[in-house]
């Protein structure tokens, strides 16, 4: 929509026109302030846990499980060197054969959600689809954090 607006403004005689193509989603994903009736509502990106353990494809599951449990977690997000999400290790995957490589053990291609989504919407979605946790990523797939269903439900309830 914004490219059409930009071109139309030029044709109306505006000589210095810019198009912020990544738009409102990019702005909100960066956690920058907004204005409006929804501006104060909590969003997925704020509630997602940023301290979630991560793992790489070529690691050994046993090593990752030790590391994850040592910091009190039962889940980890599989990312590459660019922090792009490739998979998810929930408790079920972490219990597999410790000699497997992460790429063999992980749940590949998990559904991811954008940081700007309202926490109420996320709580409903995760409850409905029985998602105990969901990675929150930027538009280009980079990890922001892991949103736990219990956190989403609790935070959504606070706003009722």
């Amino acid at each position: 929509m914004s490219p059409r607006a930009a071109w139309r403004l030029e044709s109306l005689g505006f000589g210095d026109v810019y198009d912020y193509v990544a738009g409102k989603v990019d702005w909100m994903a960066a956690g920058l302030p907004t204005e409006g009736t929804n501006a104060q509502h909590p969003r997925a990106g704020e509630v997602a846990r940023k301290d979630v353990p991560t793992a790489q494809l070529d690691e050994r599951l046993g090593d990752v499980r030790e590391r994850v449990q040592a910091v009190g977690w039962d889940a980890a997000v599989v990312i590459n060197s660019e922090r792009v999400v490739l998979g998810l290790l929930r408790s079920k995957e972490l219990e597999k054969d410790p000699n497997l490589r992460i790429e063999q053990a992980m749940r590949p291609g998990p559904s991811t959600f954008r940081p700007h989504l309202s926490i109420k919407e996320m709580a409903q979605n995760m409850t409905q689809h029985k998602l105990e946790s969901s990675p929150i990523t930027t538009l280009d797939g980079r990890l922001v954090g892991l949103l736990l269903q219990k956190d989403a439900v609790q935070k959504a309830g606070e706003k009722e």
């Binding site: 000589g15 026109v17 912020y20 907004t34």
Partner: protein, 67 residues
Amino acid sequence: MPTEIDRSKLQSLVKEGAQLVEVLPADEYEEEHLPGAISLPLRRLETEAVSLLDRTRPVIVYCWDTA
């Protein structure tokens, strides 16, 4: 030809006095918009752009994302 910009360029242009315009429908603007942005939905550009905006200053438009 309009220039595509990223977030940091937007912030510097706004500091320098650029006009920031959300072209989404007005109800979406009411719910949430970038600080200081004005609402000028795409369908109203034809009739309202010239009266609402200053042609001598830079204009930045945005919507939800690249779609």
